[in-house]
Symmetry: D2
């Protein structure tokens, strides 16, 4: 922790800050510059730091207080250099394969879900995505089939030999969703729903944590830390676009974050180009770019007839479009020594 | 709903769009321009519109589909021109008084909470804020006293004759928090936690809905619509700053949103200048500006010794600072024909 | 300057960083923490710091390098505690009066400009705004009357006894515009047009520097520093809204920035609620809020018939609306011990 | 143009809007919905539309006015379906080759520039980038060698058989820079410096137009339209990151914009992963991702000793790093049927 004193801080005020830091049990290292005095504090444990920083910043004779160590620990690559691998069904996420997770945005019926699942399975992929509980901006939109949607997903998955990823929104539903799904998705709106994070952290199912559309990388990793601290280390991160001033795309897909998170953390990173762009015509190019940026997997919305989908039709690709997307992505994955699985 | 066809759309494609719209039971009104054909659809009910818009946008020969009517209804001023008034303890929120809600960010102890409550009550105010369940970016930060914090808040409120506003984060806690608090606060991170919104919508306590730091005004009003649709019409909105590129302040307090929401909706609007700026020295000026912009109330963090606060010390003002803030705000409230209550 | 070493930095690498800093002629103060070594550098002059920070950050064994002192000097309140006052015509900007600058967005004709000038003058105000050279997003929009517009402004100003503020966009026009105008406005798009800043810095006319819609407060102050370094110390800053994700308003007016800049700098701060909101109906509330936040002046778009204006009609208020705005603002100015001038 | 009337608009008010539109010489097509009346206007020419939209939006009985046609014409793919190809020296930009433009951020000396040029040329590339006039946030930073820098660039280019791309900031310098450079770069801060755009539009040198860090795609294309309207059709666009709330990276590189612009416009799109990320370690991954997203070229900062660079050392890669980047990019370019040139 580095404390920058105000330019006109008196010796008494500098001593006051030092006394506080010493009082908390830490060492102080003052540096007297020409225009500012800076005090280094050594040995401040993570758990208390945020509190002390804010207390010090409150003092009128302190200009700023700066944390030095990153505010997450167990998810950092510094604490665990080797990449985390998560086994789900046939595939390992975080290994050399780029894992394809595809399916309808929303589970509408057994038939539609089955049709899409078969199309995906036919190309050799084994993780089926689909929404049963849907977070909708408008209360007038279809909110998903709920438990019935989970049953359809499970039935389709068993029939096709696939694993299921689906969203859980309510901490009261974590147990139920865990019975039907192989991966629990935390949606962008719930990235800082801490009771939900704690609940999936206590569970045994792998978790895919989408980035909050407002979240800095650092905050996203802290959210993952909540899950890991609960005991569940099978966490993967999913970049799905952040909110910016640009309106042509629904969100701004931040692929730099993929490369950055791979440096900062050992967790696998998945990319959702469907939510990330909100436009089906941009999905294949961004899927390809995500792989080139280092993504460990893709989450893609596929629908037999997107122009009849009850939700997010504008960003879903058709079965034919999915074949084209896969054809476009495979050579790029191979070009960087990986494969699509 | 207005559908803009792609520039090269064929007559068959235009007919296809018309047929779909007619098939949904609505009227079509095509306009043939020189470069684009535009089709107006009349009679599309709110509940289905989002779905149809997305389905149409998915068609390669549709350039865009635009909703005409605002996506919220019961919270709009159009549906109810008179302003909503909410009675809490001694005061009415949404009336001519500007309601002051003040107190510590986090409930730390009975003594500290009581000291601050007395200081606030002494100036004639009657709503005490304080956090028992705290949403913290870092899992290593103090997460609040929980139930013990609620008990302290209630005890202090009873002793001083004040009402309590406190945050509820978990739908499983709504009932419990409702026993101790007079107003339920939904925090910025939970603005789109729909299960929580539905739960407080079923309850009987007034709700203060903070704006998501990423939320457009329209989305904020849709979140309020979720609560109102549950049956609870006592909703107030709270502007607390949005996330932008500026880093000098913790958030960017969007006071234009206060004036805009007063036009668009009949719900009262509260402003939180403490969270909004993250800097105690800016709080009084922004409290004053909020009143001038038309806010119906303020939510202010006050602490006897902010430099010892366990959380958000940097943005809390002292008891003396609170007196100064009130002295600064009163004449501005009076200048616009209101009073501080 | 504080250099944070990577967690696994070796003693040799730490010594290398120290040697570099010493080689630049400065003192080093290492602090050996448990997880990181931090090196303080003392005596690094402003002019070289940015360069050294970037060089150090490039080293793979350096995690980050942090500047301690603010990157502007002459515009800081630290360097000059007393507020800058700028005399223009009848009024002093930066004094106790809140200075009203009003007029049409664009100069369209002598008659329209004169009508609006008279309406403003009749209320006792003496600075006329109006655009002769207009920066337009679309090349197909009206780009202003140019020199003819300057002549109209000057003629109207002389006839009414007012001073003129108008925008200069091109460094080649600074001299000409200075002949006709009393204050040179640098528009938001040109905040970092350094050749233009240098040119007005060499001139003798007061400068109103609008905040870039993308600019952090720190960058805005550095842009002002460019002008001041040229020799022209009569600079005022103008908050006019920043670009965010919100689309209901044209920009997000950042009134916290007004209070923040008054702390950080001695320069006067003006607010433009017309550009800031893009909606005439929000202008009076935001004008009032700007004064409450501490603004030293307002820049308001007024037009006799906004629904016929060639530009920015949506955000201009009528002559009647201007009277109402003034009536709304006066009591707020007086409530905080100021007056509208 | 679509005009949405306010919900309570009277028949007289509707007629007033229709009369205005007819008065401008266009056709009206009213659609009477249950909650709103919408009026379509047909035949409004581009040049006047922005003005009419704003005039109509100003009317209190108009809720909103929406443009239907895109506000740029000559740069749209709609107006010219085939992609623009620009020949510079040995290579064609906008063809199947992905064009590498590399070199130092800032020209520091003949020797350093030559060393880097040779390293780039040795890999077969032929466009050298380098800054002679530098836009710097801080007035205390090195502002470039100016004319001397141009001379060095030209000398190095002639000696190595390369073409030069360099930035021009001041309209007064366009002629001079055109004598020394093969491509004129307009920097992000000057994307809406209209006098500069007009000046390069009158010139004969190809222009690389960087996206303003605050600019929507639509505004970026309108800026390009300024250049093209001047007569210079050899324009290429350069995505270099937009400004968002994320602070880990210097900007947020918006690769979706690459795919989107390739749909909307026929102009070539270049990506600058150095400015886009601000971190050398992320540059290779983002260079690769840019190619996968469909970029027609890359602009990369290379320096023999970035830790001694006078500017932007943190984002420059070494000569060795450049070799690795090229090795990483080539297979991805080939995987999508292109090559690095």
């Amino acid at each position: 922790m580095i404390v920058v004193m105000a330019p006109n801080a008196t010796p008494d005020q500098i001593r006051d800050v030092e006394d506080r830091i010493i009082g908390w049990g830490y060492g102080v290292h003052p540096i007297y510059g020409e225009e500012r005095t800076v005090i280094g504090a050594v040995g401040v444990p993570e758990a208390d730091k945020a509190q002390y920083l804010e207390q010090l910043e409150r003092l009128p004779y302190v200009e700023s207080a700066i944390a030095i160590i990153r505010p997450y620990k167990f998810v950092s690559r510094e604490s665990k250099p080797e990449s985390t691998r998560i086994r789900v069904g046939d595939v390992t996420i975080g290994d050399t394969g780029v894992v394809m997770m595809a399916g309808p945005c929303t589970v509408e019926s057994y038939e539609l879900t089955m049709a899409t699942a078969r199309a995906i399975r036919a190309l050799g992929f084994s993780i089926l995505r689909g929404g049963a509980y849907k977070p909708c901006t408008s209360p007038y939109s279809f909110q998903g089939l709920g438990l019935e949607g989970l049953r359809i997903l499970q039935a389709v998955a068993q029939a096709t030999g696939m694993a299921v990823i689906t969203e859980v929104m309510d901490p009261r539903n974590v147990e139920t969703v865990s019975e039907y799904a192989d991966i629990l998705q935390i949606g962008t709106r719930n990235m800082q729903n801490y009771d939900l994070l704690r609940e999936v952290g206590r569970g045994h199912r792998p978790v895919l944590l989408k980035r909050g559309m407002w979240a800095k990388i650092e905050e996203w990793l802290q959210a993952a830390e909540y899950v890991v601290l609960g005991g569940n280390t099978n966490v993967m991160l999913c970049e799905r676009g952040i909110r910016t001033f640009e309106t042509h795309t629904r969100n701004t897909l931040d692929l730099s974050a993929v490369a950055a998170v791979k440096e900062l953390s050992h967790l696998p990173v998945i990319v959702d180009p469907s939510q990330g762009t909100g436009r089906w015509s941009l999905v294949p190019a961004m899927a390809r770019a995500a792989i080139a940026a280092g993504a460990d997997g893709l989450l893609v919305e596929v629908h037999p007839e997107p122009e009849k989908a009850v939700k997010d039709g504008a960003q879903s690709i058709t079965h034919e479009g999915f074949v084209e997307l896969v054809d476009a992505c495979r050579p790029v994955a191979e070009a960087i020594g990986r494969s699509l699985v």
